[in-house]
């Protein structure tokens, strides 16, 4: 298909995120009386989903790249599980990242191939000159069918990459003029119309219909091998190692063996399980981190292959030095080990018989239409007279400090200290106890009351430093409601699930599974 030579793009920074929970395969086996199983998989807590994971990874990547939200021309988001199967997923994520209403890009979905497809879309827009800086986010949190083999392999995670168009006739991206740490240099896609993992329209859980040996021998291994060989055949330097999306912890190794280069992404699967659409970029981030490759190759020419829905795409990255933000994925944090029942509850697969008590306002109603921008973007209203910040703007036409009527909307600080708090222990569903509610004095002087992390409930104290992280407050009448929660910076548990940035702070917490 390829008509003209591939135009490289610069990789300005990367970020990764893992959800908070870990489920041991042996606990799944015990529940079904099917014996063993090894390792753990990552599971979203009930207040996490592909949007909150994407938010974490994207923020980490932007920070590593030194790129502000204003500089981003488009958001390409790849996930097989957008929070709204049909709805404003992209607009919500864009609002939480402060990307502005004119932000371009696309939401790519449909299979686990969505992640690498989002990368290709962004790359094309940059190469065409339609965008200068692209934010690519891939996140997934598949829900495996109960009693299927997928329960012990299906994980979750997110990876983000900030890409910059190369300036005309230059080796440097136009965004910052500096020589990039890495460039994407080659790619190839191969397809085969074979049904494997699938979810019907309206289906809650993902199922696998394939015969394992048939899938391995006739679909996965040949297709990914062909894609991997194709990028090498284009004349570039062949990758010294491969990161490969891995549905079961075994298939990727078989492909790498055929390609004749070591597999660098084994620890990614080991840490998170199959992270679906996020797998390919998680593997790439892991491989280009210093010391991240299990082969010790570090920077250099490395490849990744994404797979899903009968399509495989190989992408080659040429790293001159460690890419900003890249750290080994197996150092994203251990997460909190939970029972099978708790994991099911968190994934919404174990629900009480009674209808939950409905909240006062439907999330599709006018209050949310008015409130979503300020809730997702975390805005306040600063008084031009006295400087007091009233939050949120929609309910404060006048200043709470002086009554002044001239206010400007500002983005609030994301860190602060606990003024006072409670831990609510008596919350019927849909709430879960313990539920801390924290009143925070933010660094910019604004005051906010938000929910806190249950994991902080025991240790929380006045004066504690906290950081705000996006979470799903509720899934109400089928609609997700997002907002920020407070996490102790010195918490025992990585403050925002786990992000690359926080993992570095939490030295000594590394472990992996």
């Amino acid at each position: 298909m390829s008509a003209s030579p591939i135009k490289p793009v610069a990789v300005l920074g990367v970020g990764a995120a893992a959800p908070s929970l870990r489920l041991a395969a042996k606990d799944v086996g015990a529940a079904w009386g099917s014996g063993g199983g090894r390792g753990t998989v990552a599971v979203c807590d009930s207040d996490e989903d592909t949007l909150t994971l994407a938010w974490q990874a994207a923020n980490a990547a932007l920070e590593a790249a030194g790129i502000t939200a204003e500089q981003v021309s488009g958001l390409w988001w790849g996930t097989a599980r957008p929070p709204f199967a049909e709805g404003p997923s992209h607009a919500f994520l864009s609002a939480t990242l402060g990307l502005g209403r004119e932000c371009g890009g696309a939401l790519v979905s449909g299979s686990s191939h969505a992640g690498i497809e989002a990368l290709l879309g962004a790359w094309d827009a940059l190469a065409a000159g339609h965008a200068a800086v692209a934010l690519v986010v891939t996140s997934d949190a598949l829900v495996p069918g109960l009693g299927t083999a997928g329960e012990t392999t299906t994980g979750a995670g997110a990876a983000a990459v900030v890409l910059g168009a190369m300036a005309e006739g230059s080796e440097a991206p136009s965004a910052n003029g500096a020589a990039p740490a890495a460039r994407l240099v080659a790619r190839a896609t191969r397809a085969m119309p074979a049904v494997d993992r699938y979810r019907a329209d309206g289906g809650g859980a993902t199922g696998d219909v394939y015969d394992a040996r048939l899938f391995r021998e006739e679909v996965f291994v040949p297709l990914l091998t062909e894609a991997g060989r194709a990028v090498g055949d284009e004349g570039g330097t062949p990758p010294v190692s491969w990161a490969i999306a891995d549905p079961d912890g075994k298939l990727a190794g078989a492909v790498a063996k055929r390609l004749g280069a070591p597999l660098s992404s084994t620890p990614v699967y080991g840490a998170l399980g199959d992270a679906g659409a996020a797998s390919a970029l998680l593997g790439l981030i892991h491989a280009c981190a210093e010391g991240g490759s299990s082969t010790g190759s570090g920077p250099g020419v490395i490849g990744t292959i994404g797979y899903g829905g009968g399509r495989a795409t190989a992408v080659v990255l040429d790293a001159a030095r460690p890419v900003p933000g890249a750290v080994p994925v197996d150092r994203l944090g251990e997460g909190r080990r939970v029972s099978y029942a708790e994991a099911l509850r968190a994934r919404g697969q174990l629900e009480p018989m009674d209808d939950p008590i409905q909240m006062g306002l439907p999330p599709g109603g006018a209050a949310f239409v008015r409130g979503n921008p300020e809730m997702l973007g975390l805005f306040g209203a600063r008084c031009k007279e006295c400087g007091t910040i009233s939050t949120p703007p929609s309910i404060h036409p006048t200043c709470v400090g002086c009554g002044g009527a001239e206010l400007e909307v500002v983005s609030l600080a994301r860190r602060g200290r606990v003024q006072t708090f409670v831990v609510n222990q008596t919350m019927p569903p849909p709430f879960q106890a313990p539920l801390p509610l924290v009143i925070i004095d933010l660094e910019d002087g604004a005051r906010l009351m938000v929910q806190g992390s249950p994991a902080d409930a025991a240790a929380l104290d006045i004066g504690d430093e906290v950081t705000l992280s996006l979470r799903r407050y509720a899934l109400e009448r089928g609609i997700p409601v997002y907002g920020y929660k407070a996490y102790r910076v010195a918490g025992d548990w990585p403050q925002s699930g786990a992000t690359v940035g926080s993992a570095q702070d939490g030295a000594g917490k590394e472990g992996g599974s």
Binding site: I357, M359, L361, P392, T420, Q425, T426, L437, G483
Partner: protein, 391 residues
């Protein structure tokens, strides 16, 4: 300020509790009968020419958005002028204040102020969550009633060294008083140890730091001081009142060791009555949670800011203390049927000032009693009424 003096000539309430067997209408009729029966020289109900109804939580019994006509019909006064007041936890005390102003204006002669609340026609869980996501769609999600007060306890403990024992002493005192009040929801003694061993509801508040969900009704008959002696030789007069507001959301509070609305409202009431905290013989204050009473006695000026805990522990607010607080058992023991609460508190003041409170009677020396409520989102509304038996 020039206004015609107003007198209370009758007051009564029904036994508080989980009144599953009684309808809203039956509770209203019971309270009205009790008020009529208390009028020393009798009062024909046809003399009532206006009714002010306080009902705060229509949502809890499927009567949200109704007007003021349910009560007149239920008590045999259909046709009478009637207005329903909804002003959060001070709904009853505000209805009283408004009733007093109506009489003071000379527009109506005999006004019935009646508070009626059904708290238990829905499950306790629904009652708990009724406000947990009201208002802004996000910023108070999870804000059940204890969340409105517990952050103040956390901060009060942090700044002043207030202890769980001090909080518990409020509950112990009010449950003791409730044992002496035949109308109280709870009539059993509790100990500090029991409070501290009760389940944590919303830290640092435990189960026995919290008032129950209670059905109830209370009624008061007001007329002008001029006409009061037609009905009784022992009228009680309205000496003053005040109402004040504060920002509604918790994160807008300027302080977490006091409730500014209470300070403002009581300042206005003291000024109108021409008295101060030292002139009071007793007070019925808003003790929805133990910490609330500690904040109240500071904000009302009974004790210095920060000293509410030790004062409670040391018995300054007991029946025989320096300033008896909540001789009726308060919201903690008598219960908190929201619209009825303020009117039930005022009924207690009426009994105390007339020295008819039986075993829980406090010493009446100067003839003044104070009644207080605070509530609403972020405790943003407070009403204080001051009664006197002095002509």
């Amino acid at each position: 300020m020039s206004w015609n003096k107003v007198a209370v000539v009758g007051a009564g309430l029904i036994k508080m509790g989980e009144l599953f067997e009684q309808s809203y209408e039956q509770m209203a009729a019971g309270a009205f009968s009790a008020a009529l029966a208390s009028v020393d020289k009798g009062l024909d109900k046809s003399a009532v020419d206006a009714v002010i109804v306080a009902t705060q939580r229509g949502t809890l019994w499927g009567q949200e958005g109704i007007g003021g006509n349910t009560v007149p019909s239920a008590i045999g006064l259909s046709g009478v002028a009637c207005t329903r007041v909804e002003n959060a936890c001070p709904s009853g005390s505000d209805a009283f204040r408004i009733g007093a102003m109506v009489v003071a204006s000379g527009v109506h002669d005999v006004v019935l102020v009646i508070g009626v609340e059904k708290m238990r026609d829905k499950s306790t869980q629904e009652g708990l969550l009724a406000r947990a996501a009201a208002g802004h769609p996000l910023y108070n999600r999870g804000e059940t009633a204890p969340v409105l007060f517990a952050p103040f306890a956390t901060r009060h403990m942090h700044e002043f060294g207030t202890t769980p024992e001090m909080l518990a002493s409020v509950a112990v005192k009010n449950h003791h008083n409730g044992c002496l009040d035949p109308y109280a929801h709870f009539q059993s003694e509790i100990t500090v140890e029991q409070v501290l061993a009760s389940p944590m509801v919303c830290s640092p508040l435990r189960l026995l730091d919290c008032c129950p969900q209670t059905d109830g009704a209370a009624a008061i008959l007001l007329t002008s001081a001029e006409r009061a002696h037609e009905f009784t030789d022992k009228p009680v007069y309205v000496a003053g009142f005040g109402v004040a507001t504060d920002h509604p959301y918790l994160h807008e509070k300027s302080t977490f060791v006091g409730l500014p609305a209470t300070t403002l409202a009581s300042g206005r009431a003291y000024e109108m009555a021409g008295v101060g905290p030292r002139d009071l013989d007793m007070a019925e204050v808003h003790d929805c949670f133990t910490i609330t009473e500690i904040l109240d006695i500071e904000d009302l000026g009974f004790v210095e800011k920060g000293k509410g805990g030790p004062a409670s522990l040391e018995g300054e607010t007991a029946l025989d203390g320096r300033i008896p607080v909540n001789p009726s058992g308060g919201l903690l023991a008598k219960g908190h049927p929201i619209g009825a609460t303020g009117i039930a508190q005022l009924t207690e003041c009426w009994w105390q000032l007339r020295e008819e409170a039986g075993e829980r009677q406090v010493a009446i020396r100067q003839g003044f009693a104070l009644q207080h409520n605070v509530g609403g989102r972020g405790s943003g509304v407070s009403v204080v009424n001051i009664l006197t038996r002095n002509p």
